[in-house]
Symmetry: C2
Subunit: 215 residues, 2 copies
């Protein structure tokens, strides 16, 4: 009982700070994408591809959420993307408070797009608003067609699902129709986009979606 | 501050019930394996292969942990494995209390081996003892070589790492040596076993390891 009361207390406090982050970001005209998915789903690879495809046409930055280390941040910095690293010290998700600290390290007037790459986890990040404009989840083709039914909250909360590692489809037993049916059953309005950061498949559609968000 | 205090309270209470589970299981001579890993890493597929390879030679059962539904339980029941389903109602891991409830639904005198398939999550399950004899983590070849450094606790807590989906290696850019070095750096004593539940590669080694646990 104690747990449940505290949990809802934490979520109320998180929502309050998420609202504050949202106001801060909106007032500076920054579109913010909360990028979520399992470990190894391909979130950083998607951002690497995004860096190459966007080139200098959009001013953007990344907040990297990791339990420990800064491996992903370094991958993106190598491509010239400004990155702020947040280490969660064991926590399995980013919350609005951590992201508020991250925002303080960024020059928000110099960017129009901000990615927040969440900790790799298909469960907990979906529970915590951070003040984002859009939630995007990455599901890899290697994760199987049953994931929407097993981890429904992430699918319900997201505005877009990027089905990553599309280049591996010929080597997998994935039943793509079954996966798409499961997505529709759990989250009827969720858009799905098939992408391979390795081959570049779907890159145009992804960049188009981002440009649409930027208005 | 409040969170941290409660968290340690939760973990103390969890440890108390985990000890109780451990005593219960030991007194019946049941070896219990806590099977952990990311969503889609191949935990259930490993258990399906185990069912086929063990045949009737070992009396065993499975406790399935899922946020919602019973898809994995049904996969295993189809193979004749007795399964108890635990739905965590949103929680991202099993805890000792949930497993205690599961144990009450099993005839412990009729089994010698119990698998507890945890919720798909590379983070939180590693924090909660459930009374297991061994912790086994499944990491898929598709998850990348950086995972030990990004999610170290799971690697440190586990007795064995099953590197699953080994049949996909020729189609991936995975740097296997870099992965194994990262595993050693984070958890020097962790045994690693390369397995493909699809091709059967490594099955003999896996079944051998299980038989050794059974003594």
């Amino acid at each position: 009982m104690k747990t449940i009361r505290l949990e809802s207390g934490i979520l109320d406090e998180n929502d309050r700070i998420a609202d504050e982050n949202e106001r801060t970001l909106r007032s500076r005209g920054v579109v913010t994408v909360n990028l979520m998915g399992s470990p190894g789903a391909g979130k950083t690879s998607l951002l690497e591809m995004t860096a190459v495809k966007l080139g200098g046409s959009v001013r953007w930055a990344v907040i990297e959420g990791d339990i420990e280390g800064s491996l992903d941040a370094r991958r993106l910095e190598r491509l010239g993307v400004p990155v702020v690293q947040i280490n969660t010290s064991g926590a399995c998700h980013l919350d609005a408070h951590m992201v508020r600290e991250g925002l303080r390290c960024l020059d928000l007037d110099s960017i129009e797009l901000l990615f927040v790459e969440n900790v790799g986890n298909l469960v907990c990040p979906a529970e915590f608003r951070i003040g984002e404009s859009r939630k995007v989840m990455v599901l890899s083709t290697t994760e199987g067609e049953d994931k929407p039914r097993k981890y429904p909250l992430m699918f319900r909360e997201s505005d877009l699902m990027v089905l990553s590692k599309a280049d591996l489809l010929p080597h997998l037993d994935l039943d793509l129709d079954a996966l798409l049916s499961a997505v529709s059953a759990v989250s009827p309005d969720l858009s799905v986009m098939q992408v391979s950061s390795r081959s570049g498949e779907g890159a145009g559609q992804w960049i188009g979606w981002l440009r649409e968000c930027l208005g």
